[in-house]
Symmetry: C2
Subunit: 402 residues, 2 copies
């Protein structure tokens, strides 16, 4: 263990240990996701990650990333562990303290698996495209709006490109971009850096300026209850159902990624966006994509409404690739006439990490065999994680609205 | 204890307990700040709060809100406690699990005391002004920009009023609104609901549409290190100093709330805002206010630059009220000529909670005695907390730009 102990600088009082000067090893660089001033977790040049947790009276502390790593209590009274080398990119993690699964207070928190986890970011030498550079910047707008379908206030995050406020006559194409299971409408800009990637692509003239709309996959109608994330450590329950309209029976829990989202999107979200922003509101200027469960939702929504969408993207999530999928009959036969489908859908993009299952690749091959034009992208060395999806987005966005 | 145990529905595996159906007592309503589906913490009509934590192998679990409350392990293997009645409004809290101080995974997390804490919201019967209603909505823009003074990318959140995108000829006045110690640029819209309060005030024609800029008080120049929050449970350290310019010696840690923030604000932030938004860029249309440390910063900045600001607000934070403050000499004598000062400063607003110290009230009296016109607002029954500052904002905003 390469750690330098500066035990004299560490103080414990009322059962809580603190140190304002204990430094990690000189070659262990604090993760960019840490709260300001937190030296741990830090990352060695070989991508081992060193964690530190203050848990003075605990008997077992464990970092839950990858296979998991037991921490050990050092003479300074704090718990430490250095992991094996980690894959580059963004990884959620949690800490188990005597069986309680919690976030590490040393990092920012990120909504994943249905609650606010910790995360580390292992720097990617090829990650320049998601780092902030001296280029014109767009902004992310948080906008609350009322949904008639779900009868609730909903929150959308909307990226507007750098020239949106100055190029005041322009109308912009729109990409609807969905998160995955257990995440929410914050995922793409907080974990995914979608705004930074777009700003960089636009500055290099690799992608057209566009508006990107990010909302939440969870949508239920009054009278239904949602099958929610069930984060096991927080003992969630199904969300209480909104009041059942008179004369109707309460429905059972509705699976996520259902038609209600499509209904909400077409009835409430799209009109709000097209009312509030300068939008080119036709199918040739409208795209939808998503990751994992959001990819499945994308196919559910777009294939049922090809009159409204000309660009489709699925990142580690699609609609086929498993037994039983037949391009001739699936989705009401929308792909049965491949030539007609290819004419309508200007880009059908599929991407996945090389360390994930074969699903999306198999789906791409099924489509190709059936004559459906599609783009397949394999992210080398990455799993079902955000680096895969940042890379997918970087490959997908330049193909839009050409 | 009013709790209904549904032990049969609770499962524990690999040391983690979970329940998807255990319900809190019928009159205990989940806090609005919980993650989706989390039934605890919940709030009784008399404002007692019931907490539940899964910590299967812990020996001591404690909720740290107010004086703190020890939890007890119930037959279902989960830890519970019901507190005494809590004051209305937003309260940070944490959980101590065998001495480890962490956020409760059942709630959203909020940046306070330098890290992401949990929080509960005890409903205020008079809190209608910060609840979403069927009125036109503004938006919160997240915007990254580069600061020449601090040589770093910085994040601002900028509220634009509901008519900003449609009333395209209008130029808007601007309020710069600061957070307090241990919080950040997210505080006012996440904890404070400033956008909802403004939307409601504008809809009732009680406040003029304005742009509100929220940034981070922490600002250091290259070669200096920041005296940061030092959240005790995460063993923070002083932030590593940016590189020292050639020929200069590294400076010591710089206290927060210093002149560097003013320099950064005037050199980088204000020009970015006035370049990016349709702003009426003169002193009569520029205000600054802040809470606690942000109130102190407001007086430091505005009293040194009265050519740039006509409206000043301090919520639970000001510049005097203690021994040694003399309105005749303080801040380079800017208040020495009371009549001239009153002519320049169109509103000087001071607010504080009735359960806080006497500082701000004493300051208001000092000013009044010295002939300085000021508005004083006392928030009944609240302490150094967000409900005080939401109320202060609601009183302050209608007085601006009249």
């Amino acid at each position: 263990m390469n750690r330098v102990l500066l035990a004299a600088a560490i103080t414990c009082s009322m059962g809580v240990c603190a140190s304002v000067s204990a430094q990690p090893p000189a070659d262990c660089v604090p993760s960019v996701l840490n709260i300001p001033g937190a030296p741990y977790p830090c990352i060695f040049p070989d991508h081992r990650v060193m964690f530190r947790v203050a848990a003075p009276d605990a008997t077992k502390v464990r970092i839950r990333v990858g296979p998991g790593f037991d921490m050990s209590k050092e003479p300074d009274g704090l718990w430490y562990v250095t992991t094996t080398p980690q894959v580059v990119g963004f990884h959620y993690y949690t800490v188990s303290i005597d069986g309680a699964v919690v976030a590490d207070p040393a990092t920012q928190t990120f909504f994943g698996s249905g609650w606010y986890n910790s995360a580390i970011e292992v720097p990617d030498p090829e990650g320049d495209y998601y780092r902030m550079k001296d280029v014109p910047r767009g902004s992310i707008n948080q906008r609350w709006y009322y949904s008639k379908v779900t009868q609730q206030w909903r929150r959308a995050y909307i990226y507007t490109p750098p020239d949106y406020d100055t190029n005041t006559k322009a109308k912009y194409p729109v990409l609807y971009l969905m998160h995955g299971w257990g995440e929410n409408e914050q995922g793409w800009h907080v974990q995914g850096h979608v705004d930074v990637i777009m700003d960089n692509l636009i500055a290099e003239q690799k992608a057209k300026p566009m508006i990107i709309v990010m909302e939440n996959l969870n949508a239920v109608k009054p009278g239904e209850s949602a099958a929610l994330y069930h984060a096991r450590n927080v003992t969630t329950q199904a969300v209480p159902a909104p009041p059942t309209p008179p004369g109707q029976r309460p429905a059972g829990p509705r699976p996520l990624g259902s038609g209600v989202f499509t209904d909400m999107m077409l009835t409430d979200l799209m009109p709000m966006v097209e009312r509030s922003y300068r939008v080119a509101a036709d199918r040739d200027h409208r795209a939808m994509a998503g990751l994992s469960m959001g990819g499945m939702q994308t196919f559910t929504t777009t294939l049922a409404h090809l009159d409204k969408f000309a660009y489709i993207g699925g990142f580690s999530g699609s609609t086929g690739g498993r037994g039983g999928f037949d391009p001739k009959t699936a989705h009401d036969g929308v792909m049965a006439d491949a030539a007609a489908f290819n004419k309508k859908v200007k880009v059908l993009f599929l991407g996945i990490g090389s360390e994930e299952g074969p699903g999306t690749k198999a789906f791409s091959e099924q489509l190709t065999q059936a004559g459906i034009t599609n783009v397949f992208f394999l992210s080398p060395g990455t799993a079902h994680e955000w680096l895969t999806w940042r890379r997918c987005f970087k490959e997908f966005a330049p193909r839009l609205f050409r």
